[in-house]
């Protein structure tokens, strides 16, 4: 990484950008920016206020914010312990177990979300592996509930938090841990009072990334939770169904999600982003 103080002249002498890199780079940059610009250009400004204050829009936005927030807390609650165990296994001689667990954590990250939805439905559906007995014993059915939305979002968002925190845990000096133990702290105290404060920036950046992923979740949500305004219809689902009948409204919903995404990047702009996935 270039330090802010390095002289421009130095850089110019060092590498003259070859043309063969310049043009594809311009294509790539335009490829990434133009579609987003197109949304902004096509926003129906005159009906924007009306669409934004529609009950359906507010319901979907509210539901998305609430479920994504809960999903983020779920990720923090179960993700940090998993990251701790992965780090612990990574330091122990059990490297095989470590690699297996790390691969399992990575799977949802690369899995098409709709496949995650099918998998969750097979597990938690009324006739699912776990959902079947649950439904027979208690009458509780998970699909088509707001809980199902949170589950789908947590499933796709969890790896982001785990990897962020595990990366941070791996880079800290574990002697600190031992010092705390030598000074009479219990292992739980050592974790909560010494280790956790050190990795807090990674927890925050992981949580922000998880929140972003949860907020954008579509495939797993519509497969597991369906689409019911006010209960399971999130912003991405609303954008998708609205696109068929009212493109103007869909573009407006898309603009909101775009602004949230930009806001998240803005929140991550400083030191939090560094070393997250290293």
């Amino acid at each position: 990484m270039r330090s802010p103080g390095s002289a421009g002249a130095d850089l110019a002498r060092q590498t003259r950008p070859p043309l063969i890199l310049t043009w594809p780079a311009i294509v790539a940059a335009l490829f990434l920016c133009l579609p987003l610009l197109a949304i902004v250009l096509r926003v129906p400004w005159e009906s924007l206020g009306e669409i934004l204050t529609r009950e359906a829009t507010l319901e979907a936005l509210g539901l998305s914010l609430v479920t994504a927030t809960i999903a983020t807390f779920v990720c923090i609650l179960i993700g940090i312990p998993l990251a701790w165990w992965m780090d612990w296994l990574g330091r122990s001689p059990h490297t095989f177990r470590y690699r297996v667990i790390r691969s399992l954590v990575l799977v949802p990250l690369v899995l098409p979300p709709v496949v995650g939805g099918v998998a969750l439905l097979m597990l938690l559906g009324r006739r699912g592996v776990l959902g079947g007995p649950l439904h027979d014993l208690t009458g509780i059915s998970i699909p088509f509930t707001t809980t199902a939305v949170v589950i789908a979002q947590s499933f796709v968002a969890l790896p982001f938090l785990v990897l962020a925190v595990e990366g941070a845990l791996r880079s800290i000096d574990r002697n600190l841990d031992e010092v705390a133990l030598d000074l009479g702290a219990t292992p739980a105290q050592a974790f909560l009072l010494v280790v956790l404060p050190i990795v807090r920036p990674a927890v925050i950046s992981g949580a922000v990334l998880s929140f972003a992923r949860a907020l954008g979740e579509f495939g797993a949500t519509i497969t597991l939770a369906g689409n019911l305004p006010g209960v399971t219809q999130t912003m991405p689902t609303a954008t998708y169904v609205t696109m068929q009948s009212d493109p103007d409204a869909a573009i407006t919903l898309a603009l909101i999600l775009l602004l949230v995404a930009v806001g998240i990047l803005f929140a991550l702009r400083d030191r939090w982003t560094r070393g997250v996935f290293s």
Partner: protein
Amino acid sequence: MSASRLLPRTFRWRHFTAIGALLLSFGIAACGDSGKEGSDRKLTVFAAASLTEAFTELGRQYEGENEGTEVEFSFAASSELAAQIDQGAPADLFASADQPNMEKVVDSGMADGAPVTFAGNLLEIAVPKGNPGNVQSLGDLEGEGLIVAVCDFEVPCGNAAREVLGKAGVEASVDSYEPDVKSVLTKVELDEVDAGLVYHSDVIASGDRIESIPIPGEYEVINRYPIVAIKGAGNEQGAEDFIELVLSKRGQAVLEERGFLAP
């Protein structure tokens, strides 16, 4: 970090140039191919999800009779397909599950000629095998304890469901508005919902994986399916021939066998 450090020492930019040129030539070749073949050997049919089985069979017949022609289908909710066609999707043909979505395509000026109605369809209540929710009539869909799925109201089957429920004066406690009729059907087949409103043709397509309860005649809503060729997609003759096949005695027999009504 500088990029060159990531590459093997022997890697030179001229390799990049060579690879780039190679990829480029592949790209050009591929484009040329598809352009040539696409004009007379491929027929792209956009059809309502409920037509999946019937049109797949007709497509096979068509391919058998027009050697070298490949029929490609895009099955989805008619409203979704109409929106795609409006955005310039390369369809030769559009078969909609209702009139309003066909009108959208006609109004946007994409239709080549006037749409022809080729089939009708009726809604039924589909329930999982064994009818776990003990659904007997439309009125049972009001039960809060039941999990009910219908199509989203933007989609033809959802529009029909709204009309049927309105006629019957039933306020169904819907748990999910699915993006197309096949998603409703799948949820019933998987026994994840207690009841769903789908077409009679979908019930036939599901065979014995589900059970169904017909809707009484006074609440019936018949969906009329129109078909039309789409302008400028490249295979006008193919589109005309396929519409002819759908309207022919043979085509109508296939549709009837799959649970559709005569137009």
